[in-house]
Amino acid sequence: METLDIFEIYRRYCEIVSGFRDSGSKAQLIREALTELVESRRKTRHSITEEIHTLMTRLGNCLRCGDSSEFSRFYDFVFFICRENGQKSISVSRAINAWRLVLAGKFRLLNQWCNFVGSKSHRHNISEDTWKQVLAFSQIIRGKDDDLELQGYDPQDAWPILIDDFVEHIHKRVRINPKPVVDQDSLSSDMVRLLRLSKRK
């Protein structure tokens, strides 16, 4: 089998994916077509992370804008190329490395997210669906940097559990260290009682 470099693999990947998508084929068929592609990378000496980095540099401007379809296709490709031995999901450590690389500057809670996923003694691998939804999540909470309420996020939506847990985790930390509006602790308990009494009146 011929050995392809990462650029060629990416080019063919884009071809296959858009070709199948237009014809409305099943995910199954796409994957079969892609399996061969992944095999062709086997002999390279570089690590996945290095190769993604090279690819990113080359693609340069096309990827600058976070929600361009070009970027989202590249993002999906990263998941695809990170898979090992035809597995459907990728390991947590690999996913974190890749996220730190490709979402840098595009996901304002990237650091918290990676720490959370890494610390959580999260046994499960990252599935393709979760991977994709992380990009959607990063886009939806794009707002002011200090918005820890995560206003774009609706708990009623079908976010993957890992993301739900992450939001809960962020909220919990906000609750523990709230921005002090009135420093309750410094008020003596008598003052608090007085305040309550006056409110009741």
Partner: protein, 664 residues
């Protein structure tokens, strides 16, 4: 300065003088007319000991004096203390004991003053037990060890008298309890021995009470009594027990008085009462039926004393259906009626699947160990459940009952087979119950190594089974087996009724006099958990058929065991109980697993018919579908959806991530 060479004091000479002092001390203790020690008198004895310890060898008598010190106590105890306690009983025994203990402590105080020089040099240098410790230990070994059971019973009987309203001498009890604490010399083991017996008696006491009160009192009346009992037990701890006993005592009282028997019976009673109101006084108005339903739903989805209502109801049924259960006195009609009501109450429980699993586990025990009291009732309760909750709900349980009937038939065939092939007879009686996998709870089939005798049995049966059904695979579950073996003990032989594990452990001692834990483990091939349980039941529980070195109450991997030939019992046949593993966690885990399958199936069913569906709608339909059996957690549903996406049953819509598509 000149050193005056003195003649050394001979041991016998010196001891003669010591003995006079000791006799004086004893006289003081016995309240004979004897003046107290003057400081001169005390100094004389102290100096004497000092002199006898600093003389050059061979006249250094430190070691001998150390022994004489102990012997003095031992002699006093056997000549005076024990005889004074021997013929006393109950309260009089306790009074005498308190007096003797307080005297003993005085004696230890004086003696250790006389012999003080030993503590400073001889004992310190050798790091052997000090004078105080030796003195107190004498009482523990010579008095407490002999009398503690008698004393313990006397204390417990006083406590029971107080529970019945008799005025007792609380100060006396407090003093006796203090002995248990003090004699441990920093360890609580003596008190804990007492405590264990006391708690056991408490449990028995309240279990008796509860079985009477349950029929005498109304639900509120019963609860008031319970509160009163809890208050009294707390007072009891404050007045004379050790504070560490409070939580344990309260727990026991609650456990005994708030059993599933009480809970279920009383809720049935209440339900009858309010149902009558709703039907009669309120003319069957739907509002009242609804209120009753809602109230019961809240009640039944609470956790009572650490158990879910599902578990309580299942245990309640088990108690009714098993031999020697608490309702043995009830008539068949009453039992039927009670079961009918339980099945109705079950409607209020959202975790019906949890009830089914607990019920099935208990049914399995009843069937396999022949605990079931009455076949008719078993079948009737299954029928009621089936009518109420559908065929699927009881299909496994019915399968179990049928299995057992087949097994009996099969056993007859096996007997015939053996009688027509006498050369195959393994030389002992063997009963095998063949079950269908799937109907029964899943049991561990470990690699346990059977003794050769039993291996032969297994082989014979395997061959027999092959002749009847060729393509069935038999898996042996030794953990459920039981055995009767004959133990040849020194005084007489006993029939021991054991589990297979216990029996195979004991049979190993036919070959070896003593076996270490590790040897037993490798020869039996049991997990540590199982082996510890088995060895505990044989060496540390009621019947000590094995001696264990060291003789402690827990099993450790460094222990060594040997057959206790001296063991005997007044019965001819004894059953050595092996406490069952707590199956609660297992049941809950099993139910969780089943729920995952149920949610999967439900999602697939829904998506198969809808093809495309929004996330919220999918969750709602799923909850709706499953609520007949349980109330699924939304997070669990979500997790299953994620899993189904991974397994490519579903996919997320490319444009709208809240929309799912079914992938055929």
């Amino acid at each position: 300065m000149a050193v005056i060479e003195r003649e050394p004091i001979e041991l016998s000479k010196g001891w003669e003088i010591m003995e006079k002092g000791i006799t004086k001390l004893k006289n003081i203790l016995e309240e004979k007319d004897e003046p107290q020690f003057s400081s001169e008198g005390y100094m004389k004895l102290y100096t004497l000991i000092y002199d006898m310890c600093i003389q050059k060898a061979p006249h250094d008598y430190s070691q001998q004096l150390y022994h004489k010190y102990r012997e003095t106590f031992e002699e006093y105890i056997s000549s005076t203390v024990l005889p004074s306690l021997k013929d006393k009983h109950d309260e009089f025994l306790l009074r005498e004991l308190v007096k003797r203990w307080s005297n003993h402590k005085i004696m230890v105080r004086w003696m250790s003053r006389f012999f003080h020089y030993l503590d400073r040099y001889y004992i310190a240098r050798r790091s052997i037990p000090g004078l105080k410790v030796v003195g107190l230990a004498c009482f523990k070994e010579k008095v407490y060890a002999i009398l503690n059971e008698k004393v313990r019973d006397a204390v417990i009987s006083l406590i029971d008298q107080e529970r019945e309203g008799v005025q007792i001498d609380r100060a006396l009890l407090k003093n006796v309890i203090d002995i248990f604490v003090e004699i441990g010399m920093g360890k609580m083991e003596c008190y804990e021995d007492f405590e264990a017996a006391m708690l056991k008696d408490t449990a028995a006491y309240y279990s008796r009470k509860s079985s009477n009160w349950i029929f005498e009192d109304s639900c509120p009346g019963y609860m008031l009594k319970l509160e009163e009992c809890l208050k009294r037990e707390k007072e009891r701890v404050a007045h004379y027990l050790h504070s560490s006993s409070e939580t344990k005592l309260i727990e026991i009282v609650q456990q005994e008085l708030l059993t599933e028997q009480v809970f279920v019976r009383k809720t049935i009673e209440l339900h009858d009462k309010y149902l009558a109101y709703a039907e009669g006084s309120f003319k069957n108005h739907s509002l009242f039926h609804k209120a009753l339903k809602e109230a019961y739903e809240v009640l039944f989805n609470k956790i009572v004393a650490g158990s879910s209502s599902a578990e309580l109801l299942a245990t309640f049924c088990d108690n009714i259906l098993k031999k020697g259960g608490s309702t043995e006195k009830l008539s068949d009609e009453a039992i039927e009626e009670t079961l009918e009501k339980v099945v109705k109450l079950l409607a209020y429980i959202s975790d019906k699947d949890l009830f089914a699993e607990f019920f099935r586990k208990k049914l399995a025990r009843r069937l396999l160990f022949d605990y079931s009291a009455n076949d008719e009732h078993e079948r009737s309760v299954l029928l009621k459940l089936k009518q109420q909750y559908g065929r699927q709900y009881t299909s496994k349980m019915e399968g179990m009952v049928t299995d057992l009937a087949f097994a009996r038939e099969n056993q007859n065939h096996f007997k015939e087979y053996l009688s027509s092939n006498p050369h195959l007879n393994p030389g002992m009686d063997l009963t095998v119950t063949v079950l269908t996998t799937g109907f029964w709870p899943s049991y561990k089939s470990s690699d346990h190594k059977l003794p050769a005798e039993m291996v032969k049995c297994v082989e014979v049966f395997r061959e027999f089974y092959q002749t009847r059904l060729q393509h069935r695979k038999l898996t042996w579950i030794y953990s459920l087996g039981s055995c009767v073996i004959k133990g040849m003990f020194d005084s007489k032989s006993l029939e021991l009724s054991l589990t297979t594990y216990q029996a195979s452990a004991l049979l190993l001692f036919n070959e070896s006099d003593s076996l270490s834990y590790q040897e037993l483990k490798s020869q039996l091939d049991l997990s540590d958990d199982d082996l510890k349980r088995v060895l505990h039941s044989l060496a540390c529980a009621k019947y000590k058929i094995l001696n264990k070195d060291p003789n402690t109450r827990t099993i450790s991997p460094t222990d060594v065991f040997e057959f206790n030939a001296k063991f005997t019992d007044r019965m001819r046949r004894i059953k050595v109980p092996l406490p069952p593993v707590d199956e609660k966690k297992e049941v809950v885990a099993d139910v969780d697993k089943d729920r995952r399958f149920a949610v999967d199936a439900s999602i697939v069913r829904i998506m198969k018919s809808r093809k495309v569906l929004g996330y919220q709608a999918l969750v709602m339909e799923c909850v709706e579908q499953l609520s007949r059996m349980f109330k699924p957690d939304v997070k669990v549903i979500k997790k299953r959806i994620e899993d189904l996406i991974n397994r490519e049953y579903l996919e997320r819509d490319r444009e709208n991530p809240n929309l799912f598509r079914y992938l055929a």
